[in-house]
């Protein structure tokens, strides 16, 4: 009973973190038709910056805030000074199909190397703002801690803010229009290039939040967010790469699935599980759990 309850709660908490990563991937996908593998790299840089802030000031919340800003700025820089010139340069020949994928992978590697060089490769901790000790339920101690609950609350707030932004503001309308029909958006007077950069900034901020939330329960290293990237991507695909809601649903499904497998079957099967989930969804329901428009062809 406790196992079930704790698996459920931990699964949701894990899924919540994945959902931030999957949302940021979906955001970028929808606006630029690129899967930004470098998102993990951007997030790790933001998280290391947060680490610095925590180290110097001892404040998790200040670091959190700084990470968001760093993530946003980094996202904007990557779009404006890396992706846009790349697309301008590489626009013909068979390389076009794989160039964005390859380029973002390269960027991921560079960001990781930079982080490893500046901060070193030893594992570093970020202390959580609330306890990591599980709640006690009667005589049992659940593996679910105040920190996990905090994660769920923070992600829920972020999701609400994002959906309000997208659905209720002019900016959100511009973002959506630019993603759905960039040409019509241009003809309507929307500065599509700048809006797209803004989309990348928001995605970068979401990824940064995912990074900083994921770290207190484990540790920080140049490679520590690779897992998040893989799970975030799997979640996005499972939910149907075209929809935000799908990204969140996919993330929760994945988080729960992974936790249950980990608790009831074996901990070393986490990755294979994600992989199997992914394959099954892609084979059975290629448009994802929440079917969106557009095909699986990039």
């Amino acid at each position: 009973m406790y196992k079930l309850l704790s698996s459920l709660l931990i699964g949701i908490s894990l899924g919540a973190i994945y959902s931030l990563m999957s949302i940021s991937l979906v955001l970028v996908w929808r606006s630029t038709r690129v899967v930004n593998f470098a998102q993990a790299g951007q997030a790790i840089v933001s998280t290391y910056i947060a680490f610095e802030v925590v180290n110097r000031t001892g404040s998790f919340w200040l670091a959190f805030f700084v990470a968001i800003i760093a993530g946003a700025i980094l996202g904007a820089i990557v779009d404006r000074y890396f992706m846009r010139p790349l697309f301008k340069r590489v626009n013909s020949g068979p390389i076009v199909a794989i160039a964005p994928v390859v380029a973002t992978l390269g960027l991921l590697g560079i960001l990781r190397a930079i982080v490893g060089f500046v901060w070193g490769v030893e594992l570093k901790p970020i202390a959580p703002p609330v306890s990591l000790d599980g709640f006690s339920l009667g005589s049992e101690v659940l593996p679910f801690a105040p920190y996990n609950a905090l994660v769920i609350v923070i992600v829920a707030i972020v999701l609400i803010i994002l959906s309000l932004l997208f659905q209720k503001t002019n900016l959100g309308l511009s973002l959506r229009a630019s993603a759905y029909s960039p040409e019509i958006a241009r003809l309507s007077g929307i500065r599509v290039n700048e809006i797209r950069t803004l989309g990348w900034a928001i995605a970068g901020a979401a990824g940064a939040i995912a990074g900083i939330l994921a770290t207190p329960t484990s540790y920080l290293s140049p490679n520590s967010l690779d897992v998040l990237l893989v799970f975030g991507f799997a979640a996005a695909v499972i939910g149907g790469l075209e929809s935000m809601v799908g990204a969140v649903v996919g993330a929760l499904v994945l988080g729960l699935g992974v936790t249950f497998v980990s608790n009831y079957v074996s901990t070393s099967l986490i990755f294979p599980t994600a992989f199997v989930f992914l394959i099954i969804i892609l084979l059975v329901r290629p448009s994802g759990i929440i079917a969106g428009k557009g095909s699986r062809r990039a």
């Binding site: 790349l86 590489v90 994928v101 590697g109 893989v230 991507f233 084979l283 990039a298």
Partner: protein
Amino acid sequence: MRKRLFLFIALGWILLLVGDRVDELRVYQGASIAVYVIAIGSIILLTGYSGQISLGHGALMAFGGYVAALCASHASMPLWLAFIMAALVTGIFGAVLGFAAARLSGPYLAGTTLAFAVGLPSLANQFSILGGEQGIYLDPGLPPARLGESFSQYKWFFWIACLAALITMFWLANILQSKYGRTWRALRSNEVAAQLCGVPTGRQKVLAFSLSSGLAGLAGALLVLTISTVSPSAFPLSLSFALVTGAVVSGIYDLKGVMLGAVILVVIPEIADSVASRFGDSLKITSTLPGLLVSALLILAVLFTPNGPGEKLHHLRHKRKAHSG
């Protein structure tokens, strides 16, 4: 075809001679280069020709490595048979994967193979027969006695790896020139058009995936030979990235440049080591510089020689002609 055969035989002779004259370290590196040649060749086949991207070929190499190790140590097969098994079994596994992959393209395929690359090695911890983190020991055996007392083990690796590389690359070059290669290229540039021409695109894609996996499996088995063990840590995610980089740098659309990519991949850790030793053997540098170089190389290659260095050389040659003519 005959010309190519002569070329490869000549290459083989040259390597034989070189192997005799060069020191142990270089011979060992030569073996690594040969391994990478096969692995990069597999990527050229899969991505350059049939247009399917894979970020998981490191895991396929691991798969082949484990098969070889299991065959050799648990089933006591002779080495050459273990290698063949590695290629075969990985090829079959690749067919299964390819079946799933055939429905995917671009980023979906990339992400799925990425998940595979991350997921497969962790299976090693699940099944005890796979030896967990320590892996399985592969006894490479000693070189045959008739080669003489002074014939070192590294040289033996070098011979085996080079032979495998020559044979597989010869075979690969032929198949890429054949109607299979043309079919793959057709479906890479326009799958719908190919389908409309009656090309069984699904089958061709799976075939490409399967062959590519077989090659990767063989490369993995050879890699295991050179380090005598197979373990998850021998096939990290960065290997998959390195393979893609090697392929892009050498010109992913043509087999000709494959040596270049392989040499670069072997040279990069060397460069990193020498830079690190200048700075007092800093751990930071040895662990981050290779990744940095590989990634930077990848980006530069995509930006400046997207269709391979051959393109640039072509331009230079034409420029020279224009100037002198």
